[in-house]
Assembly symmetry: C2
Homo-oligomer: 238 residues x 2
């Protein structure tokens, strides 16, 4: 099954952009009358018929539409500090999308080596990974913001992965945290930079209702920790 | 914490090869008398003292030794068909190592596009990932073999991930399979090539005692499925 993406949907007419049109008409050689599936990136899958096989702007007619197509039974927001090596972060975006993350928020932590992040490439990777893994919803990747600004933006079960315990608190495993809130379908997980979160950031997160968690005894790279968090939530709802 | 690796350990004398010696003496600037941690790749961690800071062949004295250091409470064998794009397979080797795989066996399936695989690069990646994630045991990566030859090599809970059900059998989720065998600490998971396993391969695997499993509704790439399987087992024992 091949999915196309369009943001140009007016009533029952869908237009594909140049890249998607070329892939549809030149690469996959679709012809007028062919059935083609298109996602709107917000959960909608449209069963369409190709009516104009223009390789620069293909036009399709919507025959039927399904909402929340391919949706998983939870809403996962990952707040992740982008790694110094951007390839590793972009790899995490691809994999977290495959594991059903709904939002991947680039964060700048007190100890982040990368303090500037441009999300355009990551957004293209998320779009491609969503189509490949059969999802009609593409994870949102907003502009980067400081960890502290992000703390007020999340709801539901809020977890912060860090590598240390406090004098008056101890981390629980992410599994224990997920299983302690069986009804929670809205989950947010914070993943820090290579140098971890600062004690002040974890204190602010606990203040905001986040539960400090560990991801086990293996020392995971930042991008592996982000994918681990996404795969753990995916598995928890499997 | 920084780990070094040596295969040249005679009684209480450890020699580092040229690469590890350079990293120890030139990059990290260790001097005679410094405490240095060395793994033997088979579960042993040696607390050593640097006695000869030769940047081509550093020599260390073993002060004490810990067996099964950093070991996880399970033994995971991943049988994975290498992807056409080797970078993706090597990425899976790095991440599966971080998630504690003990053996990563390259398999050639009926539908494998890649029918030849040289394990040298993957072995170097596994070594580096084991040191980075604080493990004294480096996953073994044997030479590639056909899927059918591998079926007789595994023990314990044996799972095969595939994308179809049979006429007289249905896949269960990998979570259901793991939870159906709470006592099993020896787990083997088979991950097929881009084109999935053939019905004949799955039949042979079922014959050999493998349980067909699915990894959820998301269509995961081969390398993502391999990392998913490793992360699911890691989470199951978290």
């Amino acid at each position: 099954m091949e999915l196309f993406y369009s943001s140009d949907i007016i009533s029952d007419t869908v237009r594909l952009d140049r890249e998607e049109s070329g892939h549809c008409v030149k690469v996959l050689r679709h012809r007028v009358g062919d059935a083609v599936e298109v996602i709107d990136g917000e959960g909608g899958l449209m069963h369409c018929t190709l009516v104009d096989a223009d390789p620069r702007e293909a036009v399709l007619r919507v025959d039927s539409r399904e909402d929340d197509w391919g949706a998983l039974p939870y809403h996962l927001t990952l707040g992740v500090c982008p790694t110094k090596n951007l390839d590793r972060f972009e790899w995490a975006v691809e994999k977290a999308t495959e594991f059903g993350a709904d939002a991947i928020v680039p964060l700048i932590g007190d100890r982040s080596e990368r303090r500037v992040f441009k999300p355009e490439r990551a957004r293209r990777i998320a779009l491609s990974a969503a189509k490949q893994s059969l999802k009609a919803r593409i994870p949102t990747i907003p502009d980067a913001r400081p960890v502290r600004d992000f703390l007020a933006e999340t709801r539901g079960l809020q977890l912060i992965a860090c590598c240390f315990d406090g004098s008056d608190w101890q981390r629980v495993s992410m599994r224990a945290a997920l299983e302690s809130a069986p009804g929670a379908t809205e989950v947010a997980v914070l993943i820090g930079p290579e140098g971890d979160f600062s004690p002040e950031e974890v204190a602010a997160a606990r203040e905001a209702g986040f539960i400090p968690v560990h991801l086990g005894s293996s020392r995971l790279r930042t991008e592996t920790a982000a994918v681990a968090a996404a795969s753990f939530v995916y598995y928890h709802f499997l």
